[in-house]
Structures are given as structure tokens and as C-alpha cells.
Assembly symmetry: C2
Homo-oligomer: 286 residues x 2
């Protein structure tokens, strides 16, 4: 579990750290990054927003292009950015396509060979990583954590939130893959990591999970750009999630369709302030 610090960067008055460790969950090295806002200390620990990135990304993309730190710094919010998959392995097919294998874990625990030994990202993100981070960084508050993500990371944020009531104080997503059982990306990932049992897929599908949510207001904010080609190609299906929310009578779910915005970091950064403030509100910072 020993942490290696690869870079320490001053930005927006806080500290941004690039870190690596050997994960017992994935049996690989794992990279992640942390932004610690100014003023955080062991006597005044900062709440944490976990941000899960999308397909093809590492934690570097959003930290360079997302501009969440600008807003988090002002509010006293920390950010934790896990990687999108294990690294350093060379499983059959792992690096052949951009929407499966490396940088495309879908934040689930694979049950199928050859992925199940390493692709245990659900356990990694919900257990090992936070245990490590809160053990190492006493200036972070382990009792106040929210989760967010983009695209595949939006799927990750919504599903980990729905599977673990109470673990996170709120959830938000930019352009999430909201019904992966019904879209090509999800079918490929779930088929490869879990297999053909489609009943098992439902345990990792936000639209299916929200149907049985019985834990009060969802405290969810979702933004989708109407100019997003993946939205148009029915990879995201937020409309299915909305319908399930309505059918189940789940409250406090805001889904916004942003006119003309695409799937890129130009979209993420534009609405970053709203997502940071959404988390900050539920974490007691606003």
C-alpha cells in the first residue's frame, strides 16, 4: 500500500498530487491524483468529491481540462481522481479497443476470465482506495464524501452511489452512460467482464438500480449536452434513467439538457462549477 508521490503541483492555492501505489485489489500498480484545497488540515479536514473519468482517460485529463479545482478551492473541497482501469497488465484483448479493457473498466468487479483477477475496480474505488487515502491524508474528511463522473465515469458514479446507500452524500454526472445494458458500449463491457448473463448486468446499470431505490431523495444532478454525438447515438440514454426515476417515484433528481454542448471537456468545464457546488451543498460547505 506504500504511496509513491510522482508530482506535487501548486494550483489554485492548494496542492495537487500525482500518486501511485501497488493495489492488493487489482494486483497491479494503480495511479490516482488528489487536490487538497488551501486551509485543509487534520484539525479541519476537507470533504472529498471523488471524480470518475470516462473512456480513454487517465486522471490527468480532467485535472488539466476540467477546472474543478478553481471552484473546489474557493469552497474548501478536496478532489480524488481514481484511474479508469488497472495498468501494467497485458490480458488478451485488453489494449485492442478504446472502449474495453485498459481505460475502460466501467468501475465494476469483473467475474469472467481473464479479467477477474485484475479488473476489480468497484472494490478498488469503494474500499481500498478510500482506505488508503484517508489513512495517508489526515487533512481529508472520511465522513464527508460525494461522487461524480463523466460518461463511463458518470455510469460509475451513479451505480456506486445507488449500490452503496450512505457511502456518498450526493452524486452528479456529466453525460453518463445511464442505461449500459441497452447500449453498445455497455453490452461490450458487461459481456467481456461479466459474461452473457444479462440478469447480472442489471446490478451494474443505473436505470435498473434506481428502480429499487428506497433511501429517500437521490440528491442527483445530471447534465447532458444536446450536441453530444454519443447522446445522439443512444450510448448514454439519460431518458431511460429519467423514465425509471419517474416510474419509481424517486425524488431530487435533476437532469438538464444543455443546448448545443458536446461530450468534451469544454462541456465538463462549463458545468463544473454547478457540479462542485452540488457536492459542496450536500457536504455541508454551502
Amino acid at each position: 500500500m506504500a504511496l509513491e508521490t510522482k508530482a506535487t503541483i501548486t494550483t489554485f492555492g492548494g496542492r495537487f498530487l500525482k500518486l501511485s501505489h501497488s493495489s492488493s485489489t487489482t494486483s497491479t500498480p494503480m495511479n490516482f491524483t488528489v487536490f487538497i484545497p488551501p486551509g485543509a488540515s487534520s484539525s479541519k479536514p476537507a470533504p472529498v468529491l471523488i471524480y470518475l473519468s470516462g473512456l480513454t482517460c487517465t486522471p490527468d485529463n480532467v485535472t488539466e481540462k476540467g477546472f474543478l479545482h478553481a471552484h473546489a478551492s474557493k469552497l474548501g473541497l478536496a478532489l480524488l481522481y481514481p484511474d479508469t482501469s488497472p495498468r501494467g497488465t497485458d490480458l488478451p484483448g485488453e489494449h485492442d479497443s478504446w472502449d474495453f479493457g485498459s481505460a475502460a473498466s466501467f468501475y465494476i468487479d469483473a467475474t469472467k476470465e481473464p479479467y477477474k483477477k485484475h479488473y476489480q475496480m468497484e472494490s478498488y474505488v469503494t474500499k481500498e482506495l478510500p482506505e488508503l487515502v484517508f489513512s495517508e491524508f489526515k487533512e481529508l474528511d472520511k465522513t464527508k464524501v460525494s461522487i461524480a463522473g463523466h460518461s463511463m465515469g458518470g455510469h460509475g458514479a451513479l451505480t456506486l452511489y445507488l449500490k452503496n446507500p450512505g457511502m456518498y452524500k450526493s452524486v452528479s454526472a456529466w453525460a453518463p452512460i445511464a442505461n449500459p445494458s441497452q447500449c453498445p458500449w455497455g453490452e461490450k463491457a458487461f459481456g467481456g467482464y461479466i459474461g452473457d448473463d444479462k440478469a447480472a448486468w442489471k446490478k451494474h446499470d443505473a436505470t435498473e438500480l434506481v428502480k429499487s431505490w428506497k433511501n429517500g431523495p437521490l440528491k442527483a444532478l445530471i447534465d447532458v449536452g444536446t450536441g453530444d454525438n454519443f447522446y445522439k447515438q443512444k450510448q448514454l440514454l439519460p431518458e431511460n434513467f429519467e423514465a425509471a426515476v419517474k416510474e419509481a417515484g424517486v425524488e431530487d433528481v435533476t437532469v438538464r439538457y444543455q443546448d448545443g454542448y458536446d461530450h468534451s471537456y469544454f462541456f465538463i468545464s462549463t458545468f463544473g462549477e454547478d457540479h462542485v457546488k452540488h457536492a459542496a451543498k450536500h457536504l455541508g460547505l454551502l
Copy 2:
């Protein structure tokens, strides 16, 4: 001069355009980008901040990582990002090093062969590009323009401002190469583009130019990170510029040393709001 629009992206409520044209000044294709803030129109044209990028960059780097649009959008300020050199040529030595030739024009008009035919970036940035942009985009106000830049672009911003009193309403720079005649980067560039006549170099050196400034308050903001390795290696020399300013009695020059910040976009983005507001103030938006 015909403009080709390579991308139109919605961001921060405005329009971000990636453009290309055939330049008569450089006799090459030239790329640039523009951010047009929400609300700009021919009847209410937006003031413009020209941002000059640093070594190795294209206009894409700062538009993805600089976060200037967030602030410019709120204030009604447009941004114009020229490229860092002509493209598409293959002159002897042009692509051999990252600090000379392509992406390293230093925003001067080369007088030495083989560069002088194409590397006419001073004329391009001060004449052809603004003429083209203000002719094409009536929602931009050609009477209200400021200039800024980073590193080599900070050198470009300071020198173009000092050489052209009245052309720009204010100037700002992040980590500028402030005394290029006296640093390795500048010596290499000026030697290659101008030749061995060091008296000629002085016409392109902010520290030399400011000594003869007789046009009132300089309206200049400069930030330098104390953790910037290029600052430590004496490539930037803001202290020489400060000394010249003091010696010449030039007023309204703010030079700030920011504790621990490096040379990267983490530094640029952190102080982007201050630089945008500096321009906005002098452009009548604040």
C-alpha cells in the same frame, strides 16, 4: 484570406471556433482560434484579448487548459489565440528543436534566410490577423483590444505592446521571457531569425524597449511562479525588466511572484481570472 472553420464548440455559453486561412504575410496556412462570449453582436461588439502562447504550443493548449473562457464569458470579453509559428513548411532546422523554428517564432519578423520568407509573425499578429478577424467577425470590437501571453507569448505580448503604443489597451504576461537578449532561449531565437547584430535584438526585447517608453502608465500585469524551473534557470529574467521599469520611472507595472507555482497551465489557469479582469478593466468591461 478565406477562412475555413474547422470546429465550432459551445463552451461557457459562448462559441469557440477553430479556424484556418492562407496567410499572405507568412505565405503559409495559419491556424487560430476565437472565443466569442454570449451576448456579443454587431450592435454590441465584444472587446478582444489576444493571447499569445508559449514554446511548443498550438492555440489548443491554452483553450483546453487555461480556463480563460470561464472568466471572459462572465465579463463579455472575446479571446483571440494566434498560433505560435507558421505551419506546413520544412526549412533547414525548423523542426529540429522545441525552442526554435516551428512553435517557437518569438513573434518577430525574421530578417535572416531561410526564415524571413515565412517567419513574419510580428506583422501577422499585429496586421493581417486582426484585419481578417475584425472583417469576418462583426461581433468583435476592433477599437478595444488588449494583449497577453505566456512565456514566449509573454515576451510577444510585452514587446508588441511596447512597440505599438495605442494598439492595445493593456498588457499582461504569465512567466514572460522578459529579457530575451540575455537568456539562452532568446539568444538562440534572435541569432537564428535576425543574426549576430545584437543591436537589432534590442528592438525585440521588453527590458530594452521599456527603457524608452514615454506613453504614460504601462497598464501591465506580470505573474511569475517561484517554483518555475525556467525562472530559476534565468530564462525569464523578470527582475531585469523590473529594474529597467524602475530606472525609467515607468508607472503602473505590477510584477507578482507567486509562491511555489511552476511554468505550467496549472499556474496559468490559477491566475487566469486576474489577467482576464486586468484586460477587462482597461477595455471598459469592469
